[in-house]
Symmetry: C2
Subunit: 298 residues, 2 copies
């Protein structure tokens, strides 16, 4: 992975962080709630979802300034899902990105509310985007669907059910991940295209964004599973082998490490092929991002 790409990813993530820093200054919200929301939102991370939305939008002609609030809403939704997934009744995690999880730091009640607050505030932010109303409506609709019972919430539910059991088939594993992780990555790409004016249902750019997002989502999850076996605890910020210890279904378990790596690379190549029609710096960035997801060490 080229040093230049990592620098560009960091620069794009930094644009998002600057916006995120300011967006939670809510006059009427209780101070402790804002603090808990900010704690998790500003805990780092690669900001992949907003960066994807920005890059797809920019590649298709939107300005960064216009699309930034919408893109940042995606990171708030991602963060809400991490806060709720970490709760004692769910994955019961003490650490997230090397820091105490929200409920460890603020208690369970405030962690639940911080999650609820991030999710609802994300919608408020996205709905205020300065694009034609039809485009905003369709883009937020894609995100709501991706975040909901047929997407992230449903995927987490399937994940909870599967943990500790051997019985999951590889098709179920794939569809669980497509909902839990894939749906929002896909919606991030699609919403960028839709805000840029592509028809929400049949637009060529929307379909390309959809397929790109699906494939990097698949590659991302396979590599996550691989890193849980082979990765370095410090750079991951979580305990290695934690999937193994709870008897979790993973790609390496089904396919072995080598075939898992091949499958991730194939998905990455499919994603790259969705970019054939485009050009410019954001296209180059999205192309390299598809490879980075496979090559990353954390």
């Amino acid at each position: 992975m080229s040093k230049e790409f990592k620098q560009e990813l960091a620069a794009r993530a930094s644009q998002v962080e600057k916006y995120l820093e300011r967006c939670l200054q809510l006059e009427k919200a209780p101070g402790e709630l804002q603090e808990a929301m900010e704690y998790s939102l500003m805990a780092g991370g690669k900001r992949v979802r907003p960066v994807l939305c920005l890059a797809w939008g920019e590649m298709l002609g939107t300005s960064t300034k216009d699309i930034l609030p919408f893109a940042s809403g995606l990171e708030m939704i991602h963060t809400y899902s991490l806060v709720h997934d970490d709760l004692p009744a769910m994955d019961n995690d003490d650490l997230r990105r090397g820091k105490p999880t929200s409920h460890k730091k603020f208690g369970e009640a405030l962690a639940i509310l911080a999650g609820d607050g991030l999710l609802t505030q994300a919608f408020t932010m996205m709905l205020k985007s300065s694009f034609p109303a039809e485009n905003v409506l369709a883009a937020v609709g894609h995100v709501a669907e991706a975040a909901g019972p047929s997407g992230m919430v449903g995927g987490q539910c399937m994940d909870m059910r599967a943990t500790g059991r051997e019985s999951m088939k590889i098709e179920d594993l794939k569809s669980m991940h497509a909902m839990k992780t894939g749906a929002l990555l896909r919606a991030a790409c699609c919403s960028g295209a839709i805000l840029a004016g592509s028809d929400p249902d049949n637009g060529k750019d929307t379909l390309n964004a959809h397929n790109y997002g699906s494939n990097i989502g698949l590659a991302f999850q396979i590599v996550d599973d691989i890193l849980d076996v082979t990765g370095d605890e410090t750079s991951l910020g979580k305990r290695v082998g934690s999937d193994e210890s709870v008897n979790k279904s993973t790609y390496p378990r089904f396919l072995g490490l080598e075939k898992s790596r091949d499958l991730a690379q194939a998905a990455s190549d499919e994603a790259k092929a969705c970019l054939n029609d485009y050009h410019g710096p954001s296209k180059d960035f999205l192309y390299m991002l598809a490879q980075y997801i496979v090559d990353r060490a954390s």
Copy 2:
């Protein structure tokens, strides 16, 4: 309270229930998640929020059929908030409307996810409303703001902080309730007016809906506090005196029962005055609803 009004309220609520029954048949969502979402959504209740939205919309010219999906989304958001508020880390309630709460029935993980699922699915439904995109965008925006950290989530946070302490002032009590309960009641009325075409920010009808909603929200909460002292456990479906036992700030504590009743009636009268410009069956219904909220026994 006239028998005719109660029948009309029940008939309007029944329109909502019929829609709610069908709206959770989500092909891709896990079965147990749908079951948990439905369990809480179909557990009864007066459906006040959707009924308010329907009545305001209808009074201003929308058809019931068009506004029903949006209105039903409000009930899903209300239900999500009850499911999360009942959780062990929050109010730790075992019963809701005389039935086991979601986490008692399905476990804590599924209860958290059912709440998250209801909230996100509500947005999906509301965003698909068949009104001009500008109107839908503004109406959903009002609801998201009302549900968020400056509304319901913030109000619940203030409520958690206050429980068990004597220190809350009556102004804080009022603003806590305005956020926790008032905001969504107000947004229900405003969104009905906005979907009917009233300007979201300065429309006369939006302002009337805003003031009507604020005042019935205030009256509703005062009467809730009064009923907790004087009510009948069977018709309330919860334990009477539960506010008292956890040393909760309430209107009767600050003002005594008589002055609390006067304040509720004054708010109800203010709400009625917001209807002066209108006529027709939905106006009459909203007028009687403002009185019903004060006169109700549960």
